[in-house]
């Protein structure tokens, strides 16, 4: 396979990336509910237990705090655990361990106890699921010093970013847009040199409005940009990729050119990533701005029943509506 280009889904990219990381370092362990024989409910860990054994691909008891807490202990012993949280809404039992322990042990120990752990969380909606299966909790982790938070948006990034996150010596919350797992295919050239993990990327150049997106909304933003171009409007789309730390240089550069910014995420708008991005852009690009930074996101309601989830989620039209409002200033 090496050196050849192949078409992969996001699920496949993540699976291949995990495999590469496990081959490269025998301290890498995978742990979570149903990650072994089943290969995870989304099949991201498919085949790994068969090839790496039950000591390295660990089916855990059904207890999220237990998974993360024991992973902390394994990391203290020199391992690099990759933890799978089955769904976004199930991370909360582990929230205390993540925020009070995973995030702080390196700090508490003055750097003597590193915490190289990856916590993979399938996030976002659009799959017609019941409650707790469609949430976007990224701001709750990005708000916590000591954690790094990234979100992949496409198969090729999935392949590279998971390997980079595992190699990172800090704990990384790794968000995977579950709606995209099996949606689109992309060409992977595994001989290419990947972008750094903690770097944002301009994925479509434009001149009129900067659209900031990550995870599942990158696809939405790109579709909106395509539609806008038919109306003669040029949108620049940035895939943020890293939410903590934020990589603001490409954002500032873009907004200084366009004078306008729209942030798109599935998470609730109130105190979400858009609020932080808006604040930073205002502080740094004040004299370049032609309009206030606008946010398009989930409403400030709990995630609704799935028959109306598409009304909750930002879609192409709501992005374009915000673009119109931005240009109307």
């Amino acid at each position: 396979m090496t050196g050849s280009s192949q078409k992969i889904t996001l699920a496949k990219g993540l699976n291949m990336g995990l495999r590469k990381a496990m081959e490269a370092d025998d301290k890498v362990l995978v742990m979570g509910e149903d990650v072994g024989k089943l290969g995870g409910v989304f099949r991201i860990t498919d085949g790994l237990q068969k090839d790496f054994g039950e000591d390295r691909v660990i089916d855990s008891p059904l207890a999220e705090s237990g998974i993360v807490g024991t992973a902390v202990g394994m990391a203290m012993r020199g391992y690099r655990p990759v933890v799978e949280i089955q769904f976004d809404g199930f991370v909360y039992p582990a929230y205390d361990q993540i925020v009070c322990q995973v995030a702080k042990i390196q700090y508490r120990s003055k750097g003597r106890v590193p915490m190289p752990m990856v916590i993979r969380i399938p996030f976002g909606g659009g799959i017609g699921a019941v409650e707790h299966h469609s949430e976007s909790p990224e701001a709750q982790f990005a708000h916590t010093p000591g954690l790094k938070v990234v979100a992949c948006s496409n198969p090729v990034d999935g392949y590279w970013m998971i390997q980079q996150a595992i190699a990172c010596d800090d704990p990384v919350i790794f968000l995977e847009p579950k709606r995209q797992y099996h949606a689109d295919k992309a060409d992977l050239d595994d001989t290419a040199t990947p972008d750094p993990l903690f770097a944002s990327r301009v994925v479509r150049q434009g001149t009129d409005v900067t659209v900031l997106a990550y995870g599942p909304t990158v696809k939405t933003a790109l579709k909106a940009a395509e539609a806008a171009s038919n109306e003669g409007r040029s949108l620049e789309v940035i895939d943020l990729r890293t939410l903590s730390p934020l990589d603001m240089a490409p954002v500032y550069d873009s907004v200084r050119r366009t004078g306008r910014a729209v942030v798109v995420h599935e998470a609730h708008v109130n105190l979400g990533m858009g609020a932080e991005l808006s604040s930073r852009i205002t502080e740094e690009c004040f004299y370049s701005l032609e309009a206030p930074v606008l946010r398009v996101g989930g409403f400030d309601t709990p995630y609704p029943a799935s028959r109306i989830e598409e009304d909750f989620l930002p879609d192409l039209d709501r992005v374009l509506d915000a673009v119109d409002r931005s240009l109307g200033f």
Binding site: L29, D55, S60, P61, A63, S65, G66, V68, G69, T70, A71, V72, G73, M74, A75, M76, R77, G78, Y79, P93, D96, Q97, C100, Q101, I105, Q106, Y107, R108, S109, K110, G111, R112, V113, P114, P145, G146, K148, C168, D169, D170, F198, P245, L246, M248
Partner: protein, 385 residues
């Protein structure tokens, strides 16, 4: 008896206030060496005079450390102190049962275990003075950082033990190699989800971990009856591993039981729950006022079970130490006191900018910018250093 099980009065009533019939004890409060044929008999050990003197010395010095730290808090030199008074035997017994390769996950009260691991007590004072969150290298002394969130460390201990399994240091039969973990926690923590999840994980993976619960009867103001309707050690059975209740004021019994549990873990036979039945003679911390919620009579009755007095009585009665030994230990305690008082006051405050260190393995640009901004702000003041 209620056909569905005992009620609280049966479990915690007067007949059980001494720990009940299952209590493993090798040295009575009166300093009498006892040998059981029933429960606890399998834990009996022979102790050399040197070991007994060592236990005595450890407990006296650990108590002195606790007394000095409490006084330092009263003098404003420490922000707070979590007292261990009364729990010296539980901690020294558990601490001395360790081998160098074993690893300990403490709460914030394991000053006696820290002592046994050779950790400089000034490091403990540093934490409670507020100069750091624990300035020791866990890998150097095989003693983790103090964990403030109740019970969280039990999961870390279990995961660490799972790591030992993967490192091939369990059940090899090589006493220099085989290792185990001790997770410390208290009766209050036994209600925490993390502690119960740790039991589940340890049982599921047969992890080499000893769950060492110091049941000191009080979780701040809440008595053990609020945490459990059965003796804590009996919970272990429900998780699928053995539980033992030991007299936590008896250093010999605590040592013997912990040593046996550790050996079981090192041999690959899995976890054990040890309930060290003891009493928190002091306050929860120096901010607490136990007179608001407990009877002085209870404290008085536990004074009669003092962990140090019984070893002293036994050693003296059997002529295992001379007067010079006791004088030496007393002098050593005085020296420790002086060193702690002077050392504590000499601990330097951290520099404000050090708060930015070690948040990450590298410093993100935004954080660096905050640090530089704050540095410039500090320097903007007249006479700034």
């Amino acid at each position: 008896m209620n056909p569905f099980g005992p009620d609280l009065a049966e479990v915690f009533g007067p007949s059980h206030s001494d720990g009940g019939p299952e209590l493993v004890q090798l040295l009575t409060p009166e300093g009498e060496r006892v040998h059981h044929s029933g429960p606890g008999g399998q834990f009996d050990l022979d102790f050399t005079p040197e070991q007994l003197r060592g236990f005595y010395r450890d407990m006296v010095l650990v108590r002195r450390l606790d007394v000095e730290a409490t006084a330092l808090q009263r003098h404003g030199e420490l922000g707070i102190w979590a007292q261990l008074l009364g729990q010296e035997a539980a901690q020294v017994g558990a601490g001395r049962a360790l081998r160098p390769q074993d690893f300990v996950f403490p709460t914030y009260r394991e000053h006696g275990v820290a002592w046994c691991r050779g950790l400089d007590p000034l490091k403990l004072l540093g934490l409670f003075r507020g100069v750091d969150h624990g300035n020791w290298d866990p890998a150097e002394v095989n003693f983790g950082l103090y964990t403030i969130v109740i019970g969280a460390q039990c999961l870390h201990a279990t995961g660490y033990a799972m790591g030992m399994q993967r490192d091939g240091v369990v059940g090899t039969g090589d006493p220099e190699r085989d290792a185990a973990v001790v997770a410390h926690f208290g009766d209050g923590a036994s209600s925490q989800g993390d502690v119960n999840e740790a039991f589940i994980f340890a049982a599921s993976y047969n992890a080499p971990v000893v769950f060492f619960c110091q049941n000191n009867q009080w979780a701040i103001s809440e008595p053990i009856e609020r945490q459990s309707r059965i003796p804590l050690y009996q919970r272990a059975l429900g998780f699928g591993f053995p539980g033992v209740r030991v007299d936590g004021n008896d250093v010999l019994a605590t040592y013997a039981v912990t040593q046996a549990a550790l050996q079981r873990a090192r041999d690959g036979q899995g976890p054990t729950f040890v309930e060290a039945y003891t009493y928190r003679m002091g306050a929860h911390t120096t901010t607490d006022d136990p007179t608001r919620y407990r009877l002085s009579g209870d404290v008085e009755s536990w004074k009669l079970k003092d962990p140090i007095a019984r070893v002293e009585a036994y050693v003296k009665r059997n002529g295992l130490a001379d007067a010079a030994f006791f004088e030496e230990v007393a002098a050593e305690a005085d020296e420790l006191g002086v060193r702690l008082r002077e050392g504590c006051k000499a601990l330097p405050d951290p520099q404000p900018l050090s708060m930015f260190d070690h948040v990450y393995s590298d410093m993100p640009e935004e954080l660096l910018a905050q640090r530089e901004g704050f540095a410039a702000y500090l320097e903007s003041f007249e006479g700034a250093r």
